[in-house]
């Protein structure tokens, strides 16, 4: 049975800065299977975020193909990419992007609003419970710690039951204790079958993943 959920073949991303061409991702081949917990590590500017953006249908490759669940997303129009981002992918960023006037539950519901998920209120409460925030459902971001805000953001990423969770430096704004809680949450979600890709510069935290990909100058060093 084909277990591949993400497949990158000969993918490059070239940016133009003035007269100079910058190759942020250079001829990358990568396959991730369902249920993988993968950490992408590398120095600042190594191309790890660009790689995640390509996987997350946020950016298009200059060369090569990106397949999500066997669908080539490289040339898809924005409308179809939006659907994939909404239904198949979940995003967690270093910045929490929580709306200050909304409660934790309402923040979690937002992607559900776009997916017209009628069960979003119940589902938001379940997810907040899953990330250990059942007591914080009606709290606003201003009343929560950084770790709690990031866990709220994780719950929000899961509202539409994605198959892949993409996290870009999710612990970048957190202390070590909260960073550990976030990674423990990822492990718990991964055990439940979720495919997780985490971009981090912390090798220590990356050790929590099953698979570590090191990227340097846009090229994968270890897979």
């Amino acid at each position: 049975m084909n277990n591949k959920i993400i497949e990158l073949k000969d993918v490059s991303k070239i940016y133009r800065r003035g007269s100079e061409n910058i190759c942020a991702v250079n001829k990358v081949d990568l396959v991730l299977n369902k249920g993988d917990f993968c950490a992408i590590v590398g120095a600042s500017g190594s191309g790890k975020t660009t790689l995640m953006n390509l996987i997350g249908c946020i950016d298009n490759p200059s060369v090569g193909t990106v397949k999500i669940k066997n669908t080539d997303v490289s040339g898809l129009p924005q409308k179809d990419l939006t659907k994939i981002r909404r239904d198949t992918l979940g995003f967690v960023f270093q910045q929490f992007f929580l709306i200050p006037t909304l409660t934790a539950s309402e923040n979690v519901q937002i992607p559900g609003l776009f997916a017209k998920n009628t069960q979003r209120i119940k589902r938001a409460e379940e997810l907040l419970d899953l990330v250990g925030l059942s007591e914080r459902i009606h709290h606003r971001p201003g009343e929560m710690s950084g770790g709690e805000m990031q866990r709220t953001a994780i719950a929000r990423a899961l509202i539409n039951s994605p198959e892949i969770l993409l996290a870009d430096e999710p612990t970048g704004n957190l202390d070590s204790e909260n960073a550990k809680i976030v990674f423990d949450t990822f492990k718990k979600l991964n055990k439940a079958g979720l495919t997780i890709i985490v971009v981090t510069h912390s090798k220590e935290l990356a050790k929590n993943a099953d698979k570590i990909i090191t990227i340097k100058d846009g090229k994968i060093q270890t897979d």
Partner: protein, 393 residues
């Protein structure tokens, strides 16, 4: 949580800015509502006072300019042109005429300059001519030194039948012979005198301001008009009350044009102001919108959020603006009456006439303004790429 709740909660993030935007929209709605109410109220008041209130089918006036006639008939304007009483003899035999009411009308400003009183010398025919001429108390003049008071003037002067009333300008005392019922037109604010007395007071014996005529067959008004005209010299005009009403309105047309031009520019400034606020509001949140795109918001979802925000602002502004308009209309009316219109229409006339239809028009225009103001920023931000969320500034 639904889209409109999401939009509302976005708006309360910056309470002061939201409040100021709502205030600006409510001011727009208020101005629009008041100007439209004033326009309708003034037009209707003139029509009711001149067309319906006087009760005449035709007016005979003298002079080359219909505006003079309108001015004289409406508010006792001063004109060197007058009608000699002999004219009454000339039209006496016109068959289509039912009643003839000669009158002399003039206005006097009180010595403190605070009030302009309108005096009208009338003959007994006024009782047949004016449908609304009914006595609250008393009756017709028993002698030349008596006066009949309009309902409002009786209240203002606090006089009852039999009381004396002193007119400083003429250094003369009159006895109140009758008080009229409310006619809700210019008559409510008038002093009625015997025609001869009125003429004598201003040294215009034998001279009339105009002659009001009612005809036997209203459907043949044009024929009556021609018939009367044929009995008069060329410098006489035979006018319908509608024509006089239109002349008064024409007199105010330049004012109305300026008023609507100011309103138009106010609406443009308002649209630009609202657009500017929405643009600022949106651009401050561009990363957030990009994030929403990352998590599956479509072009239409983002567009919907912005439009909902704009609609909430507009609806709140409209409710406040129209409510203020209704609540403050009497205050505004007092202001307008004091500075703009004075005696062209009666003191009891409602010159601000708000209504459900005007509220609907206001609502429609302000909503269009709100949607226009929001459309450009909404389209612009809806096209934002999700990449913007992760791009470091």
């Amino acid at each position: 949580m639904k889209f409109y709740q999401f939009a509302f909660k976005n708006l309360i993030r910056s309470k002061t800015r939201t409040l100021l935007t709502v205030l600006s929209i409510s001011m727009t709605a208020f101005i629009l509502f008041m100007v439209l109410s004033l326009n309708r109220g003034f037009e209707s008041s003139v029509k009711e006072d001149l067309v319906e209130g006087i009760g005449a089918h035709l007016f005979i006036a003298r002079g080359g300019c219909p505006m003079d006639a309108a001015s004289i008939i409406a508010q006792g304007g001063i004109s060197p042109m007058y009608i000699p009483e002999e004219v009454l003899q000339k039209i006496q035999d016109v068959e289509s005429i039912k009643h003839i009411m000669p009158f002399k009308i003039f206005s006097i400003t009180t010595s403190d300059g605070m009030r302009t009183d309108i005096f009208c010398g009338v003959t007994k025919e006024v009782e047949q001519m004016k449908g609304k001429w009914k006595y609250q108390k008393g009756g017709w003049f028993p002698n030349d030194d008596s006066v009949i008071l309009g309902a409002d003037i009786a209240v203002i002067e606090q006089r009852k039948v039999g009381d004396k009333i002193y007119v400083e300008h003429f250094d003369k005392e009159f006895e109140v012979a009758g008080i009229l019922e409310y006619a809700y037109n210019q008559d409510d604010g008038m002093f009625f005198l015997p025609l001869k007395t009125a003429q004598k007071l201003i040294n215009r014996e034998g001279k009339l301001s105009a002659i009001a005529v009612s005809v036997e067959d209203i459907d043949n008004l044009d024929f009556s008009k021609m018939e009367i005209k044929s009995h008069l010299a060329d410098d006489y005009m035979v006018l319908t009350p509608e024509a006089i009403g239109n002349d008064v309105m024409n007199f105010f047309n330049s004012t109305r044009t300026i008023m609507f031009a100011v309103l138009f520019f106010t609406l443009i400034v308002s649209t630009v102001g609202i657009a500017n606020t929405i643009i600022t509001m949106i651009y401050e949140r561009r990363k957030e919108f990009a994030y929403l795109k990352c998590v599956g918001a479509s072009f239409h979802d983002i567009y919907k959020i912005i439009l909902y925000e704009s609609l909430i602002l507009c609806k709140t502004g409209i409710i406040i603006g129209i409510s203020s308009g209704i609540l403050l209309s009497s205050l505004f009316e007092g202001y307008v009456r004091k500075f703009l219109l004075t005696s062209y229409i009666s003191q009891t006339a409602e010159i601000i006439r708000p209504g459900f239809d005007i509220a609907l028009i206001t609502m429609f225009i302000v909503l269009v303004i709100g949607l226009l103001a929001a459309t450009y920023p909404a389209i612009k931000i809806s096209k934002i790429m999700p990449m913007e969320a992760i791009r470091n500034e």
